[in-house]
């Protein structure tokens, strides 16, 4: 049974530059638990893609296995989707991106899918700097198998079952930085104001963009004692600053105090404005990003916002020098060298 969202919409729903309403970016009705953080992230993805005026069918959404990886059904219904194998989404995206460089690739994963079974692929897709947005819906537990701790659960954090986790937590942002990711951010499913511009910036960034989104599991990990509950995250989140995404064609209208902000021009000419709150962090310096992450880990606070961005990122297509024309558009004439060449090869083998 599939649940389709009713097509009826308010006639005055705002349209974007392409004439699409937000409804054109939605998917089926979610079958996740009521209040699941993942649904808020789906909503943020819809909003970001709509506001950026990306043609929905020019997006490919891919996922692994788990609650998070079910969610691509619940947004971007006009995009091709691919629910692949547990922990292996990055490889499928890599292949897809090699085949057609003109689409936008959105990978959706969870903490089990990324930090455990998919750790290898996550590390390597980051170091290859594949041009994709990689969103982790991070709830610190395995929801679909009823609440086991995942590898991102903090040491000492207790899920609904009550036992405190005894293992060290994997910080995906730290790992991504270490692996050479060129865009690293963390956010909270409950903070759309921060998440939507981050997604937009990640989409516009050319290269691997990780957004680790803390997304509480209302059913198994939203209890007192959990460090991934709504309450805990709200109380302990510290933002690096705020981000405002400015599309290329739009006037810059936001006022900001000079000396406290950065303007970053993206590959397509659009820009993002960073309003710094954290005095220590220089988000264009990897060392600074790593130190700030470590400082926050020590104090038990959760650093959110844009943590690192490499403004001179070269993605995998740049490195491999692949043709500007998507490889999947090449035909016999482009690919097949013909019999004459084989005759020469034969002659060299006699």
């Amino acid at each position: 049974m599939s649940y389709q969202i009713p097509k009826f919409r308010h006639p005055d729903l705002p349209v974007n530059d392409l004439g699409y309403t937000k409804a054109d970016y939605e998917g089926s009705i979610s079958s996740l638990c009521a209040g699941c953080g993942h649904d808020s992230i789906s909503g943020a993805i819809v909003m970001a893609c709509h506001e950026l005026s990306i043609e929905p069918h020019k997006i490919a959404k891919l996922s692994g296995i788990g609650c998070s990886s079910k969610s691509p059904t619940y947004f971007l219904g006009n995009s091709h989707g691919f629910n692949s194998v547990h922990g292996r989404m990055p490889s499928v995206v890599t292949g897809a991106a090699m085949a057609n460089r003109d689409l936008m690739y959105l990978g959706v994963s969870g903490d089990g899918d990324t930090a455990s079974i998919g750790m290898g692929q996550f590390a390597h897709v980051a170091r290859r700097n594949l041009n994709m947005v990689y969103i982790v819906m991070n709830n610190g537990c395995y929801g679909l198998t009823k609440g086991q701790d995942s590898a991102t659960a903090d040491e000492g954090s207790a899920s609904k079952k009550g036992d405190a986790n005894v293992y060290s937590a994997i910080d995906l942002c730290g790992t991504a930085l270490q692996m050479g990711a060129t865009f690293v951010a963390r956010s909270f499913s409950g903070d759309k104001g921060q998440l939507v511009p981050l997604i937009k910036a990640a989409i516009t960034h050319r290269g691997f963009a990780l957004i680790d989104v803390i997304s509480p599991c209302v059913t198994f990990n939203n209890n007192p004692g959990s460090t991934k509950s709504y309450e805990f995250v709200r109380e302990h989140a510290e933002a690096t600053g705020t981000v405002d995404f400015v599309p290329m064609r739009r006037e810059i209208t936001t006022d900001y105090k000079p000396g406290f902000s950065h303007e970053v021009t993206m590959h397509d000419g659009s820009s993002i404005h960073l309003y710094k709150v954290d005095e220590e962090l220089d988000p264009f310096n990897r060392r600074s990003a790593m130190m700030t992450l470590e400082d926050h880990r020590e104090t038990g606070s959760i650093l959110t916002g844009l943590i690192y961005m490499d403004r001179d990122s070269r993605d995998l297509h740049d490195v491999l020098e692949t043709s500007q024309r998507p490889l999947n558009e090449l035909r016999e004439g482009d690919l097949c060298p013909g019999n004459k060449m084989l005759e020469n090869i034969n002659a060299s083998l006699r």
Binding site: K58, F82, N83, S84, S91, V93, L327, N328, P337
Partner: protein, 617 residues
Amino acid sequence: MKPIESLNDFVIKFANVNGTGSASANNLFAKALFRMGLPVCPKNIFPSNIQGLPTWYEVRVSEKGYLGRRGGTDIVLSVNPQSMAQDIQDVEPGGYFIYDNTKPLDLRLLRNDVNIIGIPLTLICNEQYKDPRQRQLFKNVIYVGALAALLDMDFKVLTDLVEDQFKGKEKLVLPNIHALELGHQYARTNLECPIGIRVQTSDKVGDKILLDGNTALGLGAIYGGATVAAWYPITPSTSVVDAYEKYARRVRIDPGTGRRNYAIVQAEDELSAIGMVIGASWNGARAFTATSGPGVSLMSEFLGLAYFAEIPTVLFNVQRAGPSTGMPTRTQQSDVLSAAYASHGDTKQVLLFPSTPKECFDFGALSFDLAERLQTPIILMTDLDLGMNDNMSEPLAWDDDREFDRGKVMTAEQLEEGVEFGRYLDVDGDAICYRTYPGTHHNKGAFFTRGTSRDEYAIYTEKGEEYEKNMLRLMRKWETIKEYVPGPEIVDCGKKADTAVLYYGTSEESSREALDYLAEEGVHLDAMRVRSFPFNQEVEDFIDQHKQVFVIEQNRDAQLRTLLMAEFELGPDKLKSVLCFDGTPISARNIRKQIKQHLSGNNVTPLHRNIVAGDTK
């Protein structure tokens, strides 16, 4: 002792130390015979090591054109003291043992039924060369020169070959020719030349080429239009992607922009490699990976997804002896079952079995057409013997009018016209459905790819009826597949035989030779070479027409026989096994011996236990 006398028909084995440059000298020897118009079959028997362990290079020379291993060794050329005791034992009675007699031969090794020929290779080198590396390298070239005299080879063919080989590095030509002459001169002056085994220029090569199967596969991928290669290095498949890259650099760089019309990604492991192939194929590019048995095991989960989600996937499996920590440099055909039923759930995978470099090229290119037409993984099953050895082959050819078969892909125009699209909807009755590439149409044709749990329109459902309906359609598709995959090659012995042999891949040449031996002894058998799985109707008919069929294969568990029994529901008596699984290519003598044992009823002990005791070389 009667020395072996033969013309243009013998087996020579070089016993070397790996990492000493022997491979190129041995290759020079084989290629020279090939250029003299003699069919040759060189086989490298090498360790999983870079330097210092024993390695052998066996060359079969056969004017009759037998290109498989015969079994037995007529001449051993020994320059490796480590393996000398065994090497001298391997010489056929009346054969020749040529060795470096700078150090005298251990008298305990001496055989009086073998001709012992000493050449002071180290001494000659020490006198000629000061540099230790040169001493090592030229020693190999010197023995090739000596062999030329001993076998009465055309010396000019050798020197011409050296000139060809070092084109562009001319300053290496003269020193190599000089080394050849040193050996040649020594033999002519000090030894009786020629020996009983000799060669003479012939015309049995025609327009054939000498090529390894992996290079042919790499070329097949180029001609088949592959644009994405994703792989993880593993012997013996590595040279497939090496070859693809070599030719891609030559023919796939856009002259205007300098950009590449291909992408090669060396993955972090085989799981990732196959994931990339599936992602690229899903997105409308032709993609492939190359691996060996351990890689197929790792890829199995993804192969299941590709089977169920019906994503074209091309995998070249260059088989070797198992397991991962097994004998990676030894050949076998031992992944048949793991590939045929790769993955969990009810899965059946399409297999292709090439047996020559030409067929590696043809099937390699064909794999992409089949994968896209049939929307399923195509696993091409070659092996180390075919993949890494130079094999004499028909020349490669391509029809310039040939177009790729891209299969059933619905276009934006069709969607716009309102043609009904259901990703898993069988509209043509052949159980193959239309797919769309991502990005085709702004609001039609998008679908969510999943293994199962969806209906014909790719809408999520966990209904049992939908699952079952889909599985039955996949079975119908399996029937369609039989019409597309290459059929068997049948050789009728012309004598109304009720017994036959069945073989595939690299067992072909030795089987052919064994059948000739048996025919000389009055035993006439029909033969069929299976070239694909699923088995076509012709395969079934052939088996039906014979009372007993020997299935010749290079694994312990008679894997193709098991597959045939399972698919055709045959009892165990109908198919008998002829097996070799010591990691060397199966030999004609071994096949003959096993078939004769069966025919004489001398097979009371379970077949799996008494086979290949001894005579496998």
